[in-house]
Amino acid sequence: MSATPPQAACYVYGIVPSGTRPPEAAGVGDPPAPVTLVSHHGVAALVGEIDVRRPLGTPRDLIGHARVLDEVAAARTPVLPFRFGAVVRDTAAVTDELLAPQEQRFLAALEDLDGLAQFTARATYRQDRVLREIVAHRPDIARLREEVAELPEAASRPRRIRLGELVAEALVARGRSDTDHLVAELGPLAAATSRAESTADQPATVSFLVAADRWSAFERAADALAADWDGRVDFRLIGPLAPYDFAPQLVDAQGPGSWD
């Protein structure tokens, strides 16, 4: 418990089991302070000193936050990530106000996470290919497209907006259906699944919690799916990651906190 000067505070990355080796990745801050562990019995917080006078959120800060947490997850250590920007006065407050009251819930959530890490699969469309398919399959869109092309730009604005709306809706509909397919193909290999809402720009993004002994099989299944979609879809698989999409529900599922 060191006395910290007033401009310094404690950035909290996440919760891990006590005894976890602190990750080596450069974290949040400029320059990033080393990541250390504040432990209380079986649970610990991954923390780093930070200068409160500097706003947070540069690209390096965001990437630093993710790399610290993902390094832990890749080492097969369960970790409960905090949302970016969690800052507490000092390490004493981390122990007294965070770890001590929540010890049992955090421990139980970490146990549930044991051996699991998040993988996020993201499919985006090859623009021209998919737009062509949409025009080909939707006579109404094809007709509107021709009408717009024949009008001067100023006169076509309402129709262009309608055209874009129809195209965006068609992309979302495809995204939902492709998300269904992603979940059906990869979900059986995962302990839990979390799908993001489809948008025209991000049609299919799904996160999976996958047990370490299935990581290889999961990657193979994902690659097979990508092969099926080749030419139409760009497919990215990111992971192993800290369970960003699952941690809050995991902790909530442990019942009320000890202050209640």
């Binding site: 505070a9 404690c10 909290v12 996440g14 409160v52 706003p55 947070l56 959120g57 540069t58 965001l62 990437i63 936050h65 993710a66 790399r67 409960l80 949302r83 970016f84 920007g85 800052v87 006065r89 106000e97 549930d112 044991d114 993201r122 469309y125 021209d128 062509r132 025009v135 717009v148 262009r160 907006i161 055209l163 874009g164 709306e165 195209v167 965006a168 979940v183 839990a192 699944t193 799908r195 993001a196 809402e197 990581w215 990657e219 799916l225 990508a226 080749d230 030419g231 760009d234 990215r236 990111i238 990651l241 999409d245 699952f246 809050p248 529900q249 995991l250 902790v251 599922a253 906190g257």
Partner: protein, 142 residues
Amino acid sequence: MSVTPRSSNYMSRPSSSGLVDVVDLILDKGLVIDIYIRVSLVGIELLTIDARIVVASVDTYLRFAEAVNRLDLADDKSQGLPELVQGMQEGGARHKTRGALEGVKDKVSGLIGGGEDEDDEEEPEERPRRRSRPTSRKGHER
């Protein structure tokens, strides 16, 4: 055995996440410290708080209208073998999609990169509702 990202024929397997991936992966995700810490929370200015604002719908629609108008449908007739061959030559996962579908991401990167000049006039419509909903959990055996 630690899993190192392997090269793959069809999907891209980034070894360390780039900024766009990180933004999507971590912003608005994870445990919220305010729920736990009441006394000693330090309010610190966050630059990214509104990073995922999407532009107004009309702009989005016009962007898609332009993309679909630009299409050269004459290519349709040659769809099939030539495109297949081209696809093979270009080698699956190395493709990069550009254009309308990437517009919002580019914008996000610009905002985070501190570009606060030309974006000021855009009217933020809403924060995208992309909060994920777990559909199942547990069910894993140890």
